[in-house]
């Protein structure tokens, strides 16, 4: 059975900068939860808090009801990949896994099984990590995370550096893990990666959770955008028809109703429409792009200040 990952009001400050700001969410067993946000949004810091590497200034993170540090031999329950490059460059891939296996107390046979699981061939496993591509390091990191036969996976940017075939493979691996009851939390700064793999999504920007829900909920472009000649007349017509609509600020309205219902209400009241179409941009993508562009602007400003 999988275990719930729970963050309650986790806050981490670095001086005046708040990297993680009152973050709360859960990742459920049997589901792949995508943790999505631009670089520097607080994903990695949140994940380090989960596994006890970063002490939070406030709040707490638990896995299956326990602080990570309170789990004896935690690798047997929680598979962690925080940074695929954080491996000793002078060790062979197999040796990296042997050290983890020896620490957590699983045999060398398990190491060979995991090498096979992630598709590192005998020759590749014998090479030193400094000669690995990022994709190979990710595979090694995944093998390391699966080594202790965990029921929870915490993976920071696991898809980064993988080719499309590798992403497809990762998707299959994590989906299977979740379908057997495992809990998966994976972070990414690329919306489409998460879209491909996750069931649930948590969107973080500047240390704050800005949206969360199932993928279906968040990606749906539900409802209608309508722009009439006479806004007041349309609003009155829609109210008369029992359709709720909110102004979108450009003389138009957004509504949860279908375009045909709005069209009928407008026709019945004789209101002239300029535009009538399924709503766009209310979805996750626009929110995500906005977050990303805000941060891009900020970094330019910061560079300007430095110079």
């Amino acid at each position: 059975m999988g275990r719930v990952i729970t963050l309650e009001n986790v806050t981490k400050r670095y001086g005046a900068f708040t990297a993680v700001d009152d973050v709360s969410f859960t990742a459920q067993p049997g589901r792949v939860t995508g943790f999505l946000g631009p670089n520097g949004a607080g994903k990695s810091t949140s994940m380090r808090v989960m596994v006890g590497l970063t002490p939070p200034n406030g709040g707490r993170a638990t896995i299956g009801g326990h602080l990570y540090s309170q789990i004896p031999n935690p690798a047997r329950h929680v598979g962690v990949l925080l940074d695929a490059s954080a491996q000793h460059a002078g060790r062979t891939g197999r040796e990296v896994l042997r050290i983890s296996a020896d620490t957590m107390g699983v045999g060398p046979k398990r190491v060979e099984e995991m090498l096979e699981l992630v598709g590192l061939s005998g020759n590749e496993a014998k090479r030193r990590v400094r000669n690995y591509s990022l994709g190979m390091r990710q595979r090694l990191g995944i093998a390391n995370a699966f080594l202790g036969d965990p029921s929870v996976l915490i993976l920071d940017e696991p898809v980064n550096g993988l080719d499309p075939a590798g992403i497809h493979w990762m998707r299959g691996l994590l989906r299977q893990f979740a379908s057997q009851g495992g809990t998966v939390l994976l972070s990414s700064h690329l919306l489409h990666e998460v879209e491909m793999i996750a069931d649930d999504m948590i969107l973080i920007g500047r240390g704050k959770i800005v949206a969360q829900g199932t993928k279906a909920e968040l990606l749906q472009t539900r409802g209608t955008y309508v722009k009439p000649e006479d806004p007041a007349a349309l609003l009155q017509a829609l109210q008369g028809a029992g359709v709720e609509a909110i102004p979108s600020g450009d003389g138009g309205f957004r509504s949860e109703a279908e375009p045909i219902d709005i069209g009928r209400a407008a026709a019945a009241a004789g209101v002239v429409l300029i535009e009538l179409k399924p709503a766009e941009g209310a979805g996750l993508e626009e929110m995500f792009l906005q977050l990303t562009s805000d941060d891009a602007r900020e970094s330019i400003t910061a560079q300007g200040v430095q110079v």
């Binding site: 059975m1 999988g2 275990r3 719930v4 459920q28 067993p29 380090r48 596994v51 006890g52 590497l53 970063t54 002490p55 896995i63 299956g64 009801g65 326990h66 990570y68 540090s69 309170q70 789990i71 004896p72 031999n73 935690p74 690798a75 047997r76 329950h77 962690v80 925080l82 940074d83 490059s85 954080a86 491996q87 000793h88 460059a89 002078g90 060790r91 040796e95 042997r98 050290i99 983890s100 020896d102 620490t103 957590m104 107390g105 390391n144 036969d149 965990p150 029921s151 893990f177 057997q180 009851g181 495992g182």
Partner: protein, 261 residues
Amino acid sequence: MNVATPHGSVAPGTLDLTADKPVPFGRLVKVELRKMLDTRAGLWLLISIVLLTGLVLVIFLINADDKSFVNAMQATATPQGILLPVLGILLVTSEWSQRTAMVTFTLEPHRGKVLWSKVTAAVLLGLAAVVLALVVASAVTAVGGTSDAWHDASLQLVLQYVVLQLLSVLGGLVFGLLFLNTAAAIVTSYALPIAFSIITSLVSSFHKVQPWVDPGTAQTPLQSGEILSGKEWSHVIVTSLIWVVLPFAIGMWRVLRAEVK
């Protein structure tokens, strides 16, 4: 994933830890020893210690005037005294320079336990170097020693030698822990005690306290082939408290609180 988990009383989504056992300390020590041997840097360092110990004793056999066991043993102290601190340093700093500390402290979140396992590994490796030195020194003495080569050998002198070498490996480890950076730790662990010795010997008002604060002065009797007096042991203990125990405590405190990236 666990097969058919019989966690009757446990709420869904929570983790039943009743059957879980912590990682045994001995296993951590074994892993630390393995980490020292499985990289080129570590392996060559150990090979260098073996080769230099042998080389020094060969030179001793050819050149020394008084080929006694104690002199042979003392001869190995210098090359080992140079390399053992590096071994102690690498045991700690490689985790930070290679960023493996993230994995190490994720596998065993009790960082203090990990650091103590490193201390234990350092002591074991130091002892192995000592045993090697003693065995080769005995062999050299047996082959080419003078007729009364064993006359001044005593268990206490051997123990003094062991203390000296262990202080050297632990002294290195402590500097590694303090800086968490290989280059800074190596430079400081060699330069700082020497600089400190020079300063304390230059200033005449320091002469009285020098053996109590300067490890170089305090440890000289350990290398002299003489049995230490009570006061000389006190010097060794006090300087070790200042140069090994105190920085270890500071380094440990920092690592326990720090964020691991």
